[in-house]
Symmetry: C2
Subunit: 99 residues, 2 copies
Amino acid sequence: MTRTMASIGTKWKPIIIYTIGKRTIRFGQIYALMGIISKKVLTEQLKELVEDGIISREKFDELPPRVEYTLTPKGIDLLRILNMLTIWNDKHNPEPAQK
Amino acid sequence: MTRTMASIGTKWKPIIIYTIGKRTIRFGQIYALMGIISKKVLTEQLKELVEDGIISREKFDELPPRVEYTLTPKGIDLLRILNMLTIWNDKHNPEPAQK
């Protein structure tokens, strides 16, 4: 378990993986969708996730340059488990009803 | 997902839950089994896990006093998902063969 948490340990990585989901998405979209992370931290976390083989990064030589991120099969596998975590959380920690 | 990570976000909690597993266990045993956490941090994390209803704490009025921790049904539910995470990690990040 210690090794597992080391590879996905920071609280950001699960949220980034969940935000990317099953689509192909750009840095700016991830940043906007998350809204709670700095560009510096997001850049570092994305770099680590690429190094860990959880997401793939594709750069298009255009002007301005376009970079897109997609979950790898390994990432999709992890997303499935992260989805179970949110179901667990919704079941056990339901959001208070909106007044 | 952000709420989910907030409730189980620190890297310690999953490891503590995994260490307790399906048994009833004392502070000293958790501390010894984990070996990589300070007593102060373990005490704080256990307190939060009790407050979150993930583990239960039972104190026995003996000399010396005995305190035991057990996963609640909510904790057992989470343990099941954490087990999937370790399976995912072993599948995708196999430990290098011992030389």
